[in-house]
Amino acid sequence: MQNYSYFRDMFFSKWIESLGKYMVLLGRTFRRPENGKMYYKAFLSDLDLLGINSLGIVAVISLFVGAVVTIQTAFNLDDPLIPDYYIAIATRESIVLEFSPTIISLILAGKVGSNIASTLGSMRVSEQIDALEVMGVNPASYLIAPKIAALAFFNPILIIISMALGLVGGYLASIGGVMSAEDYIYGLTVDFNAYHITYALIKTFVFAFLIVSISAYFGFYVRGGAIEVGINATKAVVSSSVAIIVSNYMLTQVLLV
């Protein structure tokens, strides 16, 4: 019993310590840039590397998942009393509310999160972060703020594209034999609530922030060498995924209930 409480206390004190360090890092991140132009340059290159670079994978996944969701919904609603266009409504809602903002963000947590953590981690172990610091540059701000800005700006765009392509995927599946194109397109417009898009974009924005800041935290404080960089990249992906799932629940409570 004593052992149990010892481990529990260790676990919580560690957790609280990490949370504190994370907050301190955030505090250091949001400080005045030394030079707007340099930060803007970093923003553009992060936009390219972390944002635009994800277009391909997001497009492919959205198209296919959109198609699959449509087929599955059709399969489940296979009842002569339910009109076909209900399938399109259901598809639309699952894509807009959950698939695009949450699942795509989870995929990005894997892709972008591991990239950020391992980049910052390598910079830490090769002393590049120290080199910035000695120059008088705030490394947290210079290395992390542009990444947060890039994803907070671009992920909502990416999610809109994902929604559109998901619906296109659904369309392709319907004309592939599930239902008529007219019914599908009609269904997309029925009972459409624009607030659902707002809700999805708010979620995306929060997830983008969590992905970058959590992954950056794991990269920024790496100690050791290549192995530790790898370990922390994995932790970054796991932690940001969990953070997304938990905050998804909390945001949904607040925004939809």
Binding site: E34, M38, S126, E127, D130, A131, V134, M135, G136
Partner: protein
């Protein structure tokens, strides 16, 4: 001038710096020598504030580093240049971008002016024509020289070099040593260099601090080190047959 008073630094149970006093003079090449693992790197990083010291004080021309707020500390740092033991070049940037990084961040120089400055610094370390290459495309010794070029790009008042000529051939090592001494004198810098290269010690050792077991075991000049009777320094310097021979001749 940098003054260090009684600084201590531990990592967990392991006390690396056990109360070191030292002064580093303006316009002089100040050397820190000591065995591998004696704490030279920890000392240098503590000097610039990369390691928070446990106790003691570090003064830059009378200003205590510990008492500075964030803003003043940052502005003091723009007057520092540092060469890391492992170079710490920005590997995603070209050589020219590395050398001009601080200029881009802190000065209003035009692109052409920055390029001129990069050319100048790279020429001083004997490395012209590599501006557009990336660090990974250069040899270890070339990377070291880029790191030195980057450290002097802002004409720092304080220059810190952690083993600037390890990994260089004897001839280039001397070129680098002489360069460091030249710019130190020319720009009245306070230069602190970690080294265990005895050649540097004798060539450019204006003022030398010998660290052993976390304490300052000796200080003096490059000439004095050859004639001192301090047993610890004799033991350190004359560990090689070559220097034993030299000592017998002296």
């Amino acid at each position: 001038m940098i003054e260090v008073k009684e600084i201590r630094k531990s990592f967990g149970e392991h006390e690396v710096l056990k109360g070191i006093d030292a002064s580093f003079y303006k316009g002089k090449t100040n050397l820190i020598i000591g065995q591998s693992g004696s704490g030279k790197t920890v000392f240098l990083k503590s000097l610039v504030g990369l390691h928070e010291i446990d106790s003691g004080e570090i003064e830059y021309d009378g200003t205590a580093l510990g008492g500075l707020n964030r803003k003043d500390r940052k502005s003091l740092r723009t007057e520092m240049g540092m060469v890391f033991q492992g170079n710490a070049l920005f590997d995603s940037l070209t050589i020219e971008e590395n050398v001009t990084f601080a200029l881009s961040m802190f000065s209003e120089m035009s692109a052409a002016e920055k390029k001129d400055r990069a050319d100048f610094c790279l020429e001083r370390v004997n490395l012209p024509g590599v501006n557009q290459k990336f660090p990974s495309e250069l040899s270890g010794g070339m990377q070291k020289r880029v790191a030195i070029a980057r450290a002097i790009s802002m004409n720092p008042n304080y220059l810190f070099c952690d083993e600037p000529n390890s990994g260089l051939d004897p001839k280039t090592a001397i070129v680098i040593d002489q360069l460091l001494q030249e710019i130190t004198q020319e720009f009245e810098m306070t230069t602190v260099i970690n080294t265990h290269d005895m050649n540097s010690v004798i060539e450019i050792g204006d003022h030398i601090i010998f660290i052993k077991d976390g304490k300052k075991a000796w200080q003096g000049t490059g000439e004095e080190i050859l004639s001192t009777d301090n047993t610890e320094i004799v033991d350190f310097v004359y560990s090689s047959e070559l220097f034993k021979k030299i000592r017998r001749k002296l």
